[in-house]
Amino acid sequence: MIAVEPFTEQVVFQRPRAMTGAPTTYCPGCMHGVAHRLVAEAIDELGIRERAILVAPVGCSVFAYNYFDIDSVVAAHGRAPAMATGLKRVQPDKIVFTYQGDGDLASIGIAEILHAAGRGENLTVIFVNNAVYGMTGGQMAPTTLPGMKTTSSPLGRDTRTMGHPIKMCELLSQLDGAAFIARRSLHSPAEIRKAKKAIVQAFKTQIEGRGFSMVELLASCPTNWDMKPVDALKWIETHMVPIYPLGDYKTRVES
């Protein structure tokens, strides 16, 4: 029999299963929200929600444990890769990922991220680079752009005394243990889609046991940049992307 169905709607977009739906404490327009959603979508797509484990950082996304509907822990500032190492080494069948800000990962926690990558820990790292310390009120991060004013570089980052930006993808891709290292941005729908793909690829790297994977996401902190959210996204495109070129920095096929 040929049925003519009543006029219906199809869901094009809704909150992924791997998110709890708890409202976030993030500022209006903060890209942590988008980054969270992409990770949750990737988890849903790969069907790994029940074996995924989040290691949340100290930073604005310390609350991430509350937003993902998966088993979660919160690490000490910068130590998420070490904590994740502990979690993964004792249960290698789980999919363990850290979610870290740039202060957390590139400043206080640079030793832990480098060594996790160096050892080729089979972990995934979602690295949200917003060029400042969001949570503590916008101080300079190792990723702050030259000349950029922050609450701890009030006259702008002077590279002679405060150094140049540290580029984590470039650095980590030097390490033999790193299997997949990519940088994406969240400044437009198109870039958001690409970011999602990279996140999926990073998780796949782990699922296939190929070693350390990291996706760096250029993101905005409208509050501390003191910009409207829309302008902040533009600023990512015009100011951050030139210094932090997007792309795949390492894709190792063998494990």
Binding site: I70, V73, T85, G86, R89
Partner: protein, 390 residues
């Protein structure tokens, strides 16, 4: 099982393995390193996890992670390394996950030296990290005890979901003594309900070392305090020598030496020697430094003429002894620092001084057990604390 002659460090490692430790994360540091090296060999043989971390900071956070997964896990280090773990330990305490830490203390402060010491007492017992918490601290005095207390540490850590530490010094870490090792325990088959193992077929679990709201964080603290109180009620352990003996030729002790670990066993030699000279002295050796045997000491204080605290530091446990004695008897101190091990002769001399100071009975060579004279409440200023080099 036949006895084996083993180094303290290696015996502890083997004891942990037999207690079912599933993962070890650590960083080399003298005088603890043999423990790590032993683990590097044995753990992979057993299909368990050994990982040399990039630092003590990383090691404690790896331990934290594995503990969150509900696994039996430990690390070991020595004084400067333990200092670096303080932030992590505070996080672990806030998270109510069980971990075992072995600290083989060395001379400090700073890089100090690699000689034995007990100057991590404060750092371990008074919790060195920020916040209000208190690990269980077990202080062995022999290699055999180190073995037994290591197993106990895992039990207590899991029972109370707390940090349990085995605190010893370089003497015990490096010394060989005959030990009887316990049988190999089976590994636990299912992780505890709170463990972070993936939210399969159940609601998600979280381990969260913070509470944004002050009242929530206070609730967490009250839970920690409740735990501490329960542990204090149930887990105090100590060993006494020549105190309160009702049989034989030894007298009830009028003077009490209090010392833990290596200082405790050296003091035993001194106490025996002093007994030979007819001084009625006994030894109280706390085995749990936390919970501290304060009730027992306070009981002893009711009858004792005086206390001598001997430590390989400048006077740390001394404070807890004084708090327990509560002004009821004079408390003297003899401490050596910087890696010096006190010698029996020196302690014996201090016992004699205490004996004189507290006015020993005229006929102090009594034959059988006797009731003690009631003790005058001492003038406060007599409770001197000092570091002596004699």
């Amino acid at each position: 099982m036949a006895k084996q002659l083993m180094k303290g460090n290696e015996a502890i490692a083997e004891a942990a393995i037999r207690a079912g430790v599933e993962a070890y994360f650590g960083y080399p540091i003298t005088p603890q390193t043999e423990l790590l090296e032993y683990m590097s060999k044995r753990m992979p043989e057993l299909g368990r996890v050994f990982l040399q971390a990039e630092s003590e900071v990383a090691a404690i956070n790896m331990v934290y992670g594995a503990a969150c997964a509900g696994r039996r896990v430990m690390t070991s280090s020595s004084s400067p390394g333990i200092s670096l773990m303080q932030e992590g330990l505070s996080y672990i305490a806030a998270s109510h996950v069980p971990v075992v830490i072995v600290d083989v203390m060395r001379g400090g402060p700073g890089l100090g030296n690699i000689a034995p010491s007990q100057s991590d007492y404060f750092q371990m017992v008074k919790m060195a990290g920020h916040g209000d918490y208190k690990p269980i601290v077990l202080a062995p005095a022999t290699v055999q005890e180190a073995v037994d207390l290591t197993a106990l540490a895992f039990d207590l850590a899991e029972r109370y979901r707390t940090i349990a530490t085995v605190l010893l010094d370089g003497v015990l870490g490096q010394m060989m003594e005959p030990v009887e090792l316990p049988a190999m325990r089976a590994l636990p088959t299912t992780p505890p309900a709170w463990a972070i193992t993936g939210a399969a077929g159940r609601a998600k679990n979280s381990v969260v070392p913070f509470r944004m709201q002050a009242d929530d964080l206070e609730a967490l603290n009250l839970e920690l305090q409740r735990k501490i109180a329960e542990i204090a009620r149930r887990e105090v352990r100590f060993k006494e020598y020549l105190i309160d003996t009702t049989s034989g030729s030894t007298d009830k002790a009028e003077l009490i030496v209090v010392a833990f670990g290596t200082a405790g066993r050296v003091a035993l030699s001194a106490v025996k020697a002093a007994r030979q000279k007819g001084i009625c002295v006994g030894l109280h050796r706390p085995i749990t430094l936390s919970p501290f045997p304060d009730e027992r000491l306070s009981q002893l204080a009711d009858e004792a003429r005086g206390f001598l605290v001997v430590e390989m530091n400048a006077g740390q446990m001394l404070q807890d002894v004084k708090l327990s004695v509560g002004g009821q008897a004079p408390v003297r101190f003899y401490g050596r620092t910087g890696g010096q091990v006190p010698m029996p002769d020196d302690i014996a001399l201090e016992i004699e001084k205490l004996d004189e100071m507290t006015g020993h009975p005229l006929d102090h060579k009594i034959e059988g057990p006797v009731a003690l004279r009631p003790v005058d409440r001492p003038a406060r200023r007599q409770e001197t604390s000092r570091t002596s080099r004699n």
